[in-house]
Symmetry: D2
Subunit: 476 residues, 4 copies
């Protein structure tokens, strides 16, 4: 299902980051880097550019193309830049929490943004406040800037190392400071971060699709627990956390990442396609057509069709002009919210036994509506196939999932779920099937949302409960 879908019934993508060092068009490139990663967050976006002295910031609520116009880009001067697209995870929403953050401290300007979640941020914040720190946001990023500013270490890399060592969680982090661009990946490598080169300039991004748009060459993934410092003299790699074992988020393959991205060496489209093939082997269905729930259901549906020999058809048409607001009629239109985005093509579906392929079931309400809508279009049978295991647990590393007790798979067994969504059959891909398709061992991944095996311990309540400050800013 598309990320535009019903906010109450689906995962939300979290964040995307982009950075460039020493390029005459830093702001233009950062704009494009964010633009191509817009699927990772549509709530707000921001950019900081600098030549090492002045830091120029522009941030706003909404889509990249609506926030940045020529006039804003023109003001974002400097050869270095970092940018961020965001769907809020920790930190309440609003402009005050938009990243990147930029501050001044004893050694000059500093700007930061990150993708993910620092699970011990509330504790760190409490400690900092005790020592006199003040906070303007509820974002993890501000905590980290304080840690850097408080460090008494002699060099910038040491200060950063001292700071990031205190962090736990899943995060990929970009810092612009003292004529340096820094990229850090948490010790488990939960969130992605890739390194590329455009001409002679280093670039960093969450996904390789950002490199494709600007014509940069992919170099390698930043490693779990690695910190790269890029400066005029070149790139230096540090290991603040010592040796680390990877636990890459498997859900990036299943749902988050753009299908044309390649993460940890695995092409996302291909992984999804193969999951569909595994699913067909594990949970075949006697059916006439395989229909995806667009867009992330398309590759696994194609894989399912190939492996099963059942014809693939685009039986659900997506409306490409889904606006952010819409008018709802008072009289009930059944499944209205889903209908605004998807329309079944009755001529393809009527009388057919349909395999319906989607990427996940979260609360189950959207799935129920889609099944109902497809049945109303005349489907004889509906066999729902899901290209991930049942989602039973919340993510604490940067993916906005509901509390566990709102997850359908946490409360019901398979048969109960099938009944609830109204399908004739229901199956999820197995862990084995999924990792076969990905082509890498399970132990190198985080699949806590499916398994409950959290690689980073979570203590206490998840939410930082920092709701004191509410701010609205208006520029006229």
């Amino acid at each position: 299902m598309s990320v535009e879908c019903d906010k109450n019934d689906h995962f939300h993508d979290e964040c995307g980051v982009f950075g460039v060092f020493d390029h005459p068009e830093a702001a233009n490139l950062t704009y494009l880097g964010l633009y191509s990663q817009q699927h990772r967050g549509q709530e707000s976006a921001g950019m900081v550019c600098t030549d090492g002295h002045s830091f120029h910031t522009h941030r706003g609520m909404g889509l990249v193309a609506d926030i940045f116009h020529k006039s804003e880009i023109k003001e974002l001067k400097g050869r270095h830049g970092i940018g961020h697209v965001r769907y809020s995870t920790s930190g309440d929403s609003g402009l005050r929490n938009c990243q990147p953050f930029s501050y001044e401290y004893a050694h000059g300007g500093i700007a930061m943004c990150h993708n993910g979640n620092i699970v011990n941020a509330p504790d760190l914040r409490k400690e900092l406040e005790k020592n006199g720190s003040i906070f303007q946001s509820t974002s993890d990023t501000e905590v980290l800037i304080h840690l850097v500013a408080r460090s008494q270490a002699a060099t910038m890399p040491e200060r950063l190392i001292e700071a990031v060592r205190q962090l736990a969680g899943g995060f990929s982090l970009l810092v612009l400071v003292e004529k340096r661009l820094v990229g850090v990946r948490d010790r488990d490598g939960i969130r992605p971060l890739v390194l590329g080169k455009l001409d002679d300039s280093w670039v960093l991004a969450s996904e390789t699709c950002a490199f494709d748009l600007i014509g940069a060459k992919y170099v390698r993934d930043i490693e779990p627990g690695e910190m790269v410092v890029i400066e005029d003299t070149g790139l230096t790699s540090y290991r603040p956390f010592g040796p680390c074992k990877p636990h890459f988020c498997v859900f990036e393959y299943v749902y988050f990442a753009r299908p044309d991205s390649t993460l940890e060496g695995i092409n996302v489209y291909k992984a999804r396609y193969k999951i569909g093939m595994e699913l067909a082997k594990e949970s075949p269905a006697e059916a006439d057509i395989v229909v995806p729930v667009p867009d992330s259901g398309v590759p696994p549906a194609m894989g399912f069709a190939e492996a099963s020999g059942i014809p693939f058809q685009m039986g659900l048409i997506r409306n490409h002009y889904v606006g952010r607001t819409f008018i709802e009629p008072k009289q009930s239109i059944r499944n209205f919210g889903v209908k605004l985005k998807l329309n079944p093509n009755r001529e393809l579906i009527a009388g057919k036994r349909v395999v319906l392929v989607d990427d996940s079931i979260v609360r189950g309400t959207t799935s129920r509506k889609i099944v109902e809508m497809v049945r109303a279009a005349g489907a004889a049978e509906i066999h729902m196939r899901i290209s991930s295991p049942p989602t039973k647990y919340s993510c604490f590393y940067g993916v906005d999932t509901p509390d566990a007790d709102e997850l359908m798979a946490n409360k019901m067994d398979l048969e109960e779920m099938r009944k609830a969504i109204g399908a004739d059959s229901l199956a999820f891909v197995s862990f084995e099937g999924m990792y076969n398709a990905v082509g890498k061992p399970r132990e190198a991944h985080c699949d806590a949302c499916f398994s409950g095996d959290y690689p980073v311990p979570i203590e206490g309540p998840r939410s930082p409960q920092l709701s004191l400050l509410k701010i609205h800013n208006k520029k006229q």
Copy 2:
């Protein structure tokens, strides 16, 4: 290719209309009717609602969801409504030409909108001006309202008949007047117009997908040369032009209409799919994968894959967040405009012989860029297949095509075109193949853009040259 693509290199969709009579939620339904037909025009939208006395109008530039909010909908009172989405064809752009138009005349209020082009509008206008008419827009619609107002016939249907009889061209037209909703289709039935029912209320739309969203039942297509007058006492059908022969626009099947719409009894998705199958038979290719140019290339590519046995793959990924404005870097990024919308998935394409399926070639510049981009992603061979015959002529019936001398197929033969776009082979579907796929005889269609056979004679220069008035309005 998507309608969002390079405006200089593609057809533009023209207009979509929607009307509802006697429903308590007329404005809400018209909103949704336009929303689901947004693909037919993204430049402006408008709506008029009435209870028969006061006419309430709201029009704006941009997308339906950006123009109409709760406050505007609330003001659009009344049980009858008509609405319009528009990509300018005749009439310069701008708010002044936004439809529907509403006026007062001797018999009360009158509002109108249409999809298509009235080819003799300039002559009619000259005649009207000679008799003292004044014009505030350059739209054909205003000409028609004048004709109705000038008619001395006794009844409303007679006045309308007297007026529409004077019109030549391809148009589907909605009128709200004197507690009546009227729908008219030109004598050739070039542009679509369908009739439906929602509970007890009649609805009219350009495409059936509008009915799907609001839950209305499709009743029938309005016939070529038919005028239906809907009033409290029911629906009456008139034949202002006498007996007519249909010439439905075949390009609606190939490109314009939404794939989930059914027009003249033909499902658009199926027609496209079958065109792909015909194309595979007519112009096979030795290749490894079939890749569509999304989105309108998807069904014919699937059909091509089925008929040829070559695997179908989504080798070009579309960016769903294409904004209306973007920042272009000064340094050249090759094929930048196309890259913003499409990204080849190198992992699927590299080393492969690719059949690339698109719906049409207009100026050829976009096709050249796509071919170049796919080749840069490593394609070993590129076999371009087009799901329509070569576009050699301009449309004068409501489709915004370039002048004939800008059409690549008008200036080059097939081999020259192949070279110009850089493909290893190039083929278009034949007329026979296309009509086989559609499943209806060629003589019932207009294919003037491919054949030059214009069912309605065009005299003199095409453009009305009414460029005197330029207006900008601003509401604060």
Copy 3:
């Protein structure tokens, strides 16, 4: 009192016009001409510029400085321009009725705007509709353009003469047509229209203050019933109505015009000042200070002070930042609406016997609030003096007055009014005093709002009742 004051309790200024012929900076000058006449209408503004061929229009709701920016001015090309500021009188409000109107007709483009009211517009409109005319607005201007378009006369001046001869009412009218700028004043000369010259270019305006800002030289007032046609060959004066007797609106002196304007040879400030002197002679008061209700009360208060020898003091301070919207507290703040605009200076007022000078009393509610507020600031006595006779009748010639039965002076005698507003004494200037101060004979003026003597007959109901059409336009 200021025009910004309580909309329910005061006259509203009507409209202002400006025109320039054959100047390289036509749009800039028209902008400034409107800017300096903003006091004549704050609801909407518009401008049309042309070089004789293309007509460029921009109109909007709000203030001139908010509607026109550099980008809009740049589009308003051409050496001729007309513009309009408006407070709605006839015609409902909204963008659809914003002037100037521009149309195309048989002889090319035509644009018009006017200040005032055409009292027989509803009848003319009915007749035009009978003959097939359609109307998009409820403005008198549109009626006039139809009349011009319908004229079969051979030359432009003849067409215009034929059209304006049919008009009755009080109006000053500007037309841009066929490389000509035309100015027309109704046969009674009720509304002002002045002619000036800037270098070699003719300019027309409602008030001379527009000439001061752009540095134009005042030449003369257009005469009652005069039509001037300005073209490349020079200015020609016509007399469409034959010989006419003037009836200039005396309220322009009392309230409407800017004090630095000179109309019909009379400086507005001086007229107001002398009215204050007459008032002091006619209705003296034993008092300690004379306090004006700013701003139009300032000159008569100064005149009153000079004639009476009582010191003049600015005892009411006006807030210069009165915004168009404000937040009202739920708890009652007495006289809140007036307090937002005016604050009494207690230190000047406490214990003093105060002569309070205002320009008029309409409904009486604002006067009551001001008296109450001044008394709360400690005034020992309040002697209200009004620099116009009692307002007993509505204006039908372009001034937005309430219906007669809402006018305090129409319902009460002097003593009742004094009690109602809570003053210790109340006096209005007499007709004699007022015309002495103005220095011209009463018979040359319209004072219908005070006397009920309407120079132009009014038949039937005043309001045109053309409320069918409601439109909202939105440019994005």
Copy 4:
């Protein structure tokens, strides 16, 4: 002269503050408190409201009435509020520096705003950064919040006392913290701060005119060096700086404050009026009329007229609709910038010997333009009289003055100034005359801008040079 005048040639007002404690309509009252003090700053405005727990903030660029609408006010929940209007003095402009600031620290939420300038803020900031503080703005306020947060004192009043004791400069400061509203005035009492009561709620404001609008009763001025802490148990007065001697800014009387305000027991209008009388005695002129430069020149001109017996006339008319942007014609209009705001009434001025009264001369360019414009209107002689001594020095306590070397009076003697502005005579009020008029001893005031006697020592360069951070925020 009005604060709207030429930004390059005049003082700018600095800031205004307002606070209310324990009132059900805290946001509404703060809105009105800012609205009535808009003359103290038009660049930005902000408000923080709280019930002691959540802090709600809204800030924006522009005027109060444009920044706060019903929806924003509704979100500003709580019974306590502080607000700020600002014309930037220290700290570059932009939303990032808009006050009030709100933060969280170890003891909860804290919000602050101030009027004035903390002269040792750069030193304090450097020290704080050395100890790990980070800064998001260049505002003095942020420094102070850090000082409070870093204090290890046990109680809130002690923490605040510890923090404010470190501050030097001229400032009036409001703090919302831990269910308390705090008001602090610097030890010299340079900037004003008044205490009032509305029903049972305490209110604080820069000027008494804020109390007049909301109907609050003036209680007393906060004393120099006093800190009042208002909490549920009542108001407590502290003396953080020990005994202090007042040095109130005399320029508040001459120019800044609204004429209807009473500060330090002196009514501003009366002080200005009497300065005019003193000026007439000290520097009489043989003339026919006294004309003020509106608005702050009005009271001294009236005083001059009374003392001299020369008639007072409003010979310069102010345009009340001066917008923030305007179109400038390419062809030179002499004194265009001044003409947009002021127009001489030629009929009053022509042939007359004019005493022109203004409040001050800064760079001298506006004065020169006004003199030229009045002479062009026909004045026979122009005698310029200024209601303050020559402005020779910059202010470092919160008034935005140019550098000393840009001040006309710093570079020229009286005769040179007279020649430069083109007047026939020129005189400034003397120190004695000014203080006679004010009615209080000179030693109780700061007149550093006239005398160079700075009550608070200034070390090093004045500007904090904190230009690293530039931010633009956008809410959509």
